[in-house]
């Protein structure tokens, strides 16, 4: 990145840019009746379901409405805390060979921490 580019990138958004960003937000609100309370409810619902399986970093969950082309999108960024994922289920019974697998099964999956 050249010095000039660096100086340019530090600048505050130009009015034209600002108009576009403001428009994107206002158009989502115009088209879909989504208010902040509804988003909070959706966030709580999502957290409840995901937390059953994964340990979620609740402080950094982000739920936003965005717009691409003519599609409004609900985007959820849900950071996961723990490295180990534990889940439990009753395996299906497949016949004699699965006899040893009856009853609840504990599975542990080693998960790599993302590099970022």
């Amino acid at each position: 990145m050249s010095m000039l580019d660096f100086m340019a990138s530090r600048k505050r958004p130009r009015p034209g840019e600002l108009a576009k960003e403001r428009l994107k937000v206002v158009l989502v609100q115009d088209r879909v009746k989504v208010n902040p309370e509804l988003l909070e409810q959706i966030k709580a619902d999502l957290l409840r379901v995901i937390s059953e399986r994964l340990e979620v970093d609740e402080q950094h969950v982000e739920i936003t409405m965005t717009r691409e082309d003519r599609w409004d999108k609900l985007q959820a960024a849900v950071p996961i805390k723990r490295q180990k994922i534990t889940f439990e289920w009753d395996p299906p019974y497949y016949g004699p060979s699965a006899e040893g697998l009856q009853g609840p099964l504990q599975v542990e999956v080693e998960r790599e921490e993302p590099s970022s």
Partner: protein
């Protein structure tokens, strides 16, 4: 006759619907097409004045719909182009003087006489707007690169979709290349990104439009006018010709380049790096 009914609309008022209708109609007629421009802005007629035909009106659209005259009697022939006609709006009635069924019938009648029926829609999203689009095969949305107009355009796109019409095309009107270059105005890409429809034309802000309207001659006649050229190109695109979109960005002036060099003035436009929260 294989004809196309095209409605020009915008939602917001004052963005250039009537100017666009007059110029596209004139441009299509200049290309040898048989064209009628219809002013559906009942109570606020203006298309007649833009075309310089304001003192020839005897009957109007409402008279035709109500059967007070025949269609031929209400059609006004253009001063210059033998293939261009105007169907004026009524000035002393309101927008509820006609209904959607009557409008569809009127469009059917006009189809038999003309290759192109261009309907100038009133501003707003009420009955007048609904009448304007009900008989249309295609919709053209006019917008300016500013928030209120683009927001209204988005609303209109939704209503056009809901009415079961094909996706409208956009004419971005009154663009100011100098402001875009400074970053003070949304550029073409910004508006397209927000609205997500196809572009039919980009028309720069041009003082010659007011001059032309004052004279009652659409600006497409004026070879010097960049807006006039842009309207002609849009008309050619309607006819299916592949005309590249106008390159409106002039090279930055020496002063602007100097200012950038020393680090003042706006950021370089083009590929943007975005370091601020969105």
């Amino acid at each position: 006759m294989d004809s196309r009914v095209i409605t020009i609309t915008s939602g917001k008022g004052g963005v250039g619907k009537t100017t666009t209708t007059a110029n596209l109609g004139t441009a299509l007629a200049m290309q040898g097409k048989k064209v009628v421009v219809v002013d559906s802005d009942i109570g606020l007629r203006n298309l007649d004045a833009v075309l310089g035909l304001e003192n020839r009106i005897v009957y109007d659209l409402v008279d035709v719909v109500e059967g007070q005259c025949r269609l031929r009697q209400a059609l006004i022939k253009d001063k210059r182009l033998p293939e261009l006609y105007l169907l004026p709006a009524a000035q002393t009635r309101d927008k509820n003087a006609i209904n959607s069924v009557q409008m569809v019938q009127l469009c059917q009648q006009l189809r038999q006489e003309f290759e192109f029926v261009l309907i100038d829609s009133p501003a707003g999203i009420e009955q007048g707007f609904r009448n304007a689009i009900v008989g249309a095969d295609e919709i053209i949305i006019v917008t300016n690169p500013e928030m209120a107009s683009v927001r209204d355009a988005d609303r209109i796109i939704g209503l056009v979709e809901a009415a079961g019409k094909p996706e409208p095309r956009l004419i971005l009107n009154r663009l100011r290349p100098d402001m875009v270059r400074r970053g003070d105005m949304m550029d073409v890409a910004d508006v397209l990104e927000v609205l997500g429809i196809d572009l039919l034309g980009i028309v720069p802000e041009d003082e010659l439009i007011i001059v032309a309207t004052n004279k009652g001659e659409p600006v497409v006649y004026d070879k010097r006018s960049r807006a006039g050229q842009a309207f002609m190109n849009a008309a050619l695109r309607i006819l299916g010709e592949e005309i590249p979109l106008e390159e409106l960005m002039e090279a930055p002036t020496l002063m602007e380049r100097l200012r950038r060099l020393v680090g003042f003035g706006p950021a370089v436009i083009g590929k943007r790096t975005r370091s601020w929260p969105s």
